[in-house]
Every structure is written in C-alpha cells, then in structure tokens.
Symmetry: C2
Subunit: 117 residues, 2 copies
Amino acid sequence: MRRKKGALVPLEISILAACINLALSGLKESHGFLIAKQIGDQQGARMLTAHGTLYKALGRMAKGGLLESRWEDPVIAAEESRPRRRFYRVTAEGQAALRAARAPAPRSTGASVTALV
Amino acid sequence: MRRKKGALVPLEISILAACINLALSGLKESHGFLIAKQIGDQQGARMLTAHGTLYKALGRMAKGGLLESRWEDPVIAAEESRPRRRFYRVTAEGQAALRAARAPAPRSTGASVTALV
DNA sequence: TGACAAAAGGCATATATCTTCCTATTCTTT
DNA sequence: AAAGAATAGGAAGATATATGCCTTTTGTCA
C-alpha cells in the first residue's frame, strides 16, 4: 500500500509503542519475538498469525532509520540454548515518527481530527 | 513400546543407516535436520511429520551410547546466519547394534526367522 | 474519478532443536 | 492368556529469524 513519505502503518505504530513500553519496563533492547508477544498480548492478536509480517516490518523500519538493530552475541544464545536474537532499539527518529503519527496531521484550521490513540 | 534390551526400533535403524551413508559421502558428522532429509528423501517420508520424533530418538540414542554428539561452535552458526546445529557420529556400539539388528536373532535351532532387512 | 503501481499484509515454508501431551504398541509378569 | 507397565510414535507448539509468493490496500498521477 504505497505510503506517504514518513507515514506509519498501524503495525509500525504498534511496534514502536511496544518497544517503548518494554523500554519503560527496563528492557533497553527488545527482540522480535518479545515484541510479537507484547503486541499479541495487548491487542486482539492474530495480527501476526505467521510472524513473517512482523519481521518484515522490523527490517523495513531498521532500514528506514526508525529502529537500530544488532545481533546478540552468539555465545550468550548458545549458553541459553536457544536461537540467536536480534535486538532493536527505537531511534530518535522513530520516536519522532511515532509522535507525528499520533498527533493530528498538521493543519491550519484546527479541525476535528480524531487522535490515533 | 517397552523394548527388549539392545533391540533397535525401525526409526533407530534408519537413523544409523542414514548417518553411515552420510559418513560414506564424506560427512563425518551429521545433524538432525540433515538426517531427517536423508531419511525423508529415501523412504516414503512422513515418518517425521513433526521432527520431534527424530530428535527424541537422537537424544535417546546418544544417551544409550549408539551416537556421540557435540554442539556446533556458536560462532560458526552465527557466521552462517542459522540456528546452531548438533552433530552426531555413530559409535562403534552403534555400528554393532545395527549389525545385530540386521542379522537374524541368534538361535540354537536354525528356524525361519525373517531377516529385518 | 478511475487506473496503475508500489508497498503492506497474510500464508506458507525454511532453518534447527526441543518439550509436552496423547495414543498406540509391545514387553513382561502373573 | 490377560493385564499392567513402559516406551515409541505422532501432533502441536515454543524459541527465533527470514524469505518467497500472492492478495489487498492505498497514494499518486493522468
């Protein structure tokens, strides 16, 4: 769905919100699976039937500068006997994009635009 | 299915045979996924619909001394961007068990026992 | 306003291993 | 021979990430 430059699709808003929520809970970095659970647990879920959609969004956002990512140290993953994670952090740009998406679109006439939550 | 000590169930025979085949192809060590493909490609497949059965058998056989196992170096897996593998090698005991399973059961009276292939 | 193209969403599947739950089979004991 | 115990097998899901294909949505341009 071809996008207006700088606009966020609903999934991206959810991802940013989830990351920030998790960060407020003390987790500076989140990984995809955790974000999926965070989103799924809060909203009606099923938004991520197969997780492909989420990972595609994460990659897209990282490429676009809304998120920063790094791979987990493989030795740590090995010690915990699980696949390696990829951690994401919301960048300043990401925070700005979220604020912009939540605020009413800039308008001269202060009209009745419903805030997006 | 409670088992006679030292006997092999069909899946175990397949695993040992697959490992040995792969070893003859030059792969000294095999991992579960590879063995699954080897078995699946040869036999009618669907024996391993979910791979749980295979991994349970591998663990069981390793514990019983038919296989030796080691984890792949996590850094190598990371470099190849995939989950870590666990490698298995057939032990001398495993080879002996396979031979025994393939040979007719030892008997004093040479009866009509069908060989298990 | 209608059509097109680009991107987002959904589903399946690949890569790997492991666990839990339930059913089916078989060995052993009485 | 019947009953009981133990284990094998099968399905599904958890842990993590990623790609490919197809459908749907939406912004933009004519």
